[in-house]
Amino acid sequence: MPATDDASTISKASPDLIPVSIESLRALIDFLQVDLYIEQERSKALILYRDRAHPVKQSDLDRLAQRGTKTLYLSLADRDGSHQTIADKVCRNERLAPERRFRVLHDFGRTAFHRVLGDSSLDAFVGMANGLAQRMTGLICRGDVVVQDLLGLLDYDNQLYTHSLNVAACSLLLAQGLGIRDPGELQSLAVGALLHDVGKRHVVLSILKKPGPLNARQRKEIQNHPTTGFRDLMRRGELSWPQAMMVYQHHERCDGSGYPVGVVGDEIHPWARLCAVADVYCALTSDTPYRKQKPVHQALDILDDEAEASLDKEMVRCWKAITAARAPSLSS
């Protein structure tokens, strides 16, 4: 029942709407009856596409995909409750392929992240990170999501929220590759990775998204984010020391060329060294305002060069081994 009347038009900025990819919806439609909105081509306004009494079918999604539509918007005002509930339902649904579950988690996580980013309360941010890390670790720990699937699912737009989700996913994989098996430890690591750039909340968007090189003052402002993130989180007093070090030291480099302190080698916490490898990899394979994403094989070469001096060599070697299975298809 496509809607055309103005009464069904809704603002895209509405906090009750969650953008969900068509691929995620394929995993959701069997058990989720919600109102779905679609973006109008010309006006970009959102109009009702299907109401809950007329649920969308797989064939509808096929048609939308063929037309090039990538996203529909799901109304949270629905009786299915909050997106957290939906994410829980999806993560527990064993009938769904694991990579589909992860894709939904990624979509919903991005929205949750985006919402709390503008929230002045850090509590909301940390609460979101905890919930997301728990689900993420659950999926990855059980081995439900295989590495190749996960790497294929990462989004490459380098928005702060997507970047943080990507770094958390890569950090979990790398930690497992390095032999960390304890689910509690992995979850704790995922929380630290999700929060690693939390200090960027204080950096104005015009600097974060500046397409050209930064001047000295702007660089200083950006380089403050590990310190401001650490201060904000330590004032709350809930983080473990390894998590705090992921936030404070993820831009430190083994040769002392990093910031904020310029510590070297073992002076950098192992979790921060791990986060640095994931962070650099995710930054290289994403579009940034001033640089196009690099193909995986090229990113790995750069990572290799950096490992010579500034990144943890053993961790880079491990990350290369993890990604190796996927590299042939990407290097073509």
Binding site: T227, M234, R235, W241, Y248, V261, G262, V263
Partner: protein, 148 residues
């Protein structure tokens, strides 16, 4: 060793001098204490309080601030670098983290201009920069002046 009444800043300074020093100055700073021309010079006046160079000795008492970061309670010798009414910069042998709060003794009479009538205070770490192995420059703010 540094607790209690020691008979004024002069006596405290003697005690501070006797603390073992773990700071290793890089070669470029070898004449740190001979750099007399720099003493008292205003190094920055764009801040809220003007900073003046003051290369002298002090003592810092490590104490735990964060539950997650254990610190053995003990005194360490530090080298002061510059000072303003709001805080100071000093050299230390190890890394300190933002928000860490520690007791400090600054017995050099030159500090009387900013810490009257005491040579004891509590500082909060604002920033830390590694200059060399066992040599970190730390910026801290005064959060409390303590009675001697």
């Amino acid at each position: 060793m540094l607790e209690g009444d020691h008979g004024g800043p002069g006596a405290v300074l003697e005690l501070v001098k006797r603390l073992r020093c773990e700071i290793k100055l890089p070669r470029s700073m070898a004449d740190y204490f001979q750099d007399v021309d720099a003493v008292g010079a205003i190094v920055e006046d764009k801040r809220r309080f003007a900073r003046r160079t003051l290369h002298s000795l002090g003592a810092l008492e490590h104490r735990p601030t964060f539950a997650a970061l254990p610190r053995t309670v003990e005194w360490h010798k530090i080298y002061t670098k510059d000072v303003s009414r709001g805080g100071l910069a000093f050299l230390h042998s190890c890394q300190l983290f933002p928000l860490e709060r520690m007791r400090m003794l600054l017995p050099d009479p030159a500090f009387q201009a900013v810490l009257p009538p005491t040579c004891q205070c509590v500082v909060e770490v604002a920033r830390c920069q590694r200059l060399a192995p066992n040599c970190f420059e730390i910026g801290a703010t005064f959060v409390e002046r303590l009675a001697s």
